[in-house]
């Protein structure tokens, strides 16, 4: 399939092929159609945003379903991500290296674990969480690992699955504790 660069992706938007409401994101050159927004998905986005906002506090801000730049062929719109600084720091360019990315996944679970995890790992995103709505667990992906004998693609070397009664501490907010139950709709 033909891959798009980020520059071309922006031209598509400029020429009106895609607009802000299009449920599309550029990942590794592919124009991926995003998971449909069910009510539970939306609720989880709001819960996660509130919980991480509290956990990170001053000096950070939380953006939901907004673009970030990973590389020349990736401009995804993660459900939630935590970025250093304030929104005004990014008037001219999208953030590039969130301290935490969270995706809410139901039908898109394979995508979140596969293609997205690979793209985030390759961009050295240190802390990537998947709120798995099917099994009602939080999957915590850490330690980006390059392809080698053990793995065909970029991925995460440390993956932990936490149940609703567990507590998670973001890597970049080491003194915070978030109850997984608070993230689930």
């Amino acid at each position: 399939m033909r891959r798009w660069t980020r520059h071309e992706y922006e031209r598509l938007m400029d020429h009106g092929f895609l607009d802000e409401d299009d449920p599309v994101e550029l990942l590794d050159g592919l124009l991926l159609v995003k998971e449909p927004q069910h009510r539970r998905h939306r609720t989880a986005v709001l819960l996660v945003a509130r919980a991480v906002e509290r956990a990170f506090g001053e000096g950070w801000f939380v953006q939901t379903q907004s673009p970030i730049i990973l590389d020349d062929r990736s401009e995804p719109e993660p459900d939630v991500c935590v970025v250093r600084g304030s929104p005004r720091d990014y008037v001219d360019a999208h953030p590039m290296r969130p301290a935490l990315i969270v995706e809410i996944a139901q039908t898109g679970l394979r995508l979140a674990r596969g293609r997205k995890a690979a793209a985030y790992a390759r961009a050295r995103i240190a802390d990537y969480w998947i709120v798995n709505l099917i099994d009602r667990v939080l999957e915590v992906h850490r330690e980006p690992a390059r392809p080698g004998p053990a793995r065909r693609h970029w991925g995460y070397a440390a993956i932990e699955t936490l149940g609703a009664d567990a507590t998670i501490t973001p890597l970049a907010a080491p003194s915070a504790g978030i109850r997984v139950a608070d993230l689930l709709p």
């Binding site: 399939m1 033909r2 071309e8 092929f17 124009l31 039908t107 995508l111 596969g114």
Partner: protein, 195 residues
């Protein structure tokens, strides 16, 4: 093989009108070899010498078999449907080049793909797309096994990528001859097509 229902690879589809606008706007590089297949932008396989030789031989053989009144096009766009503008390796259309100065032809009487690495794509994916469009005569010149695969009689099949497939498929080796449906008085040795 990609499937439409697989969420992992669900990408934004383009209509043929959008695709032609993208070309007019110069969004693609002139050197790019892409086709619109069922709304997806596919990159054509790089052409090796055998592939191109097979295209030239097939085009010559079909020109001789069809004679005047037909145009044999090589790797030219076909306006197949609202979300497809493939560029088959060889296609035979009625009339002369000038007949298609304003719009691409849409219904070749014979469509040929030369396949090496693209064999599975040409058989299932493009085969299903061409069957859905009702193309009556579809040949896959299979360079790996050095045979000609002749597909005819489109039938509906919900398990096929585009809901249709060819009901009849025949495999002809280099010693056989093939008669195009739209040129019933001719007979082409398969060996004349193979590089």
């Amino acid at each position: 093989m990609r499937t439409m229902a697989d969420y992992e690879t669900r990408t934004r589809r383009f209509t043929r009108a959008e695709y032609e606008r993208l070309i007019d706007l110069g969004v693609f590089q002139p050197s790019e070899d892409i086709e619109l297949i069922g709304g997806e932008l596919m990159v054509a396989e790089p052409q090796g010498a055998p592939h191109y030789t097979a295209i030239r031989k097939t085009a010559r053989a079909l020109e001789a078999a069809f004679g005047p009144g037909w145009d044999v096009r090589t790797q030219g766009p076909i306006g197949l449907d609202d979300e497809s503008e493939p560029e088959p390796d060889v296609a035979v259309v009625p009339g002369a080049p000038d007949d298609y100065a304003r719009a691409h032809p849409s219904r070749p009487v014979l469509t040929v793909e030369v396949a090496e690495s693209s064999l599975a794509l040409d058989r299932q994916h493009k085969g299903s797309l061409y069957a859905r469009a009702g193309l009556p005569d579809y040949w896959v010149l299979n360079l790996i096994d050095r045979v000609l695969e002749v597909y005819r009689e489109p039938v509906a099949d919900s398990t096929a990528p585009f809901g249709w497939r060819y009901g009849r498929g025949e495999v002809l080796d280099a010693s056989a001859r093939v008669v195009p449906l739209a040129a019933p008085g001719s007979s082409i040795p398969v060996s004349q097509l193979l590089p």
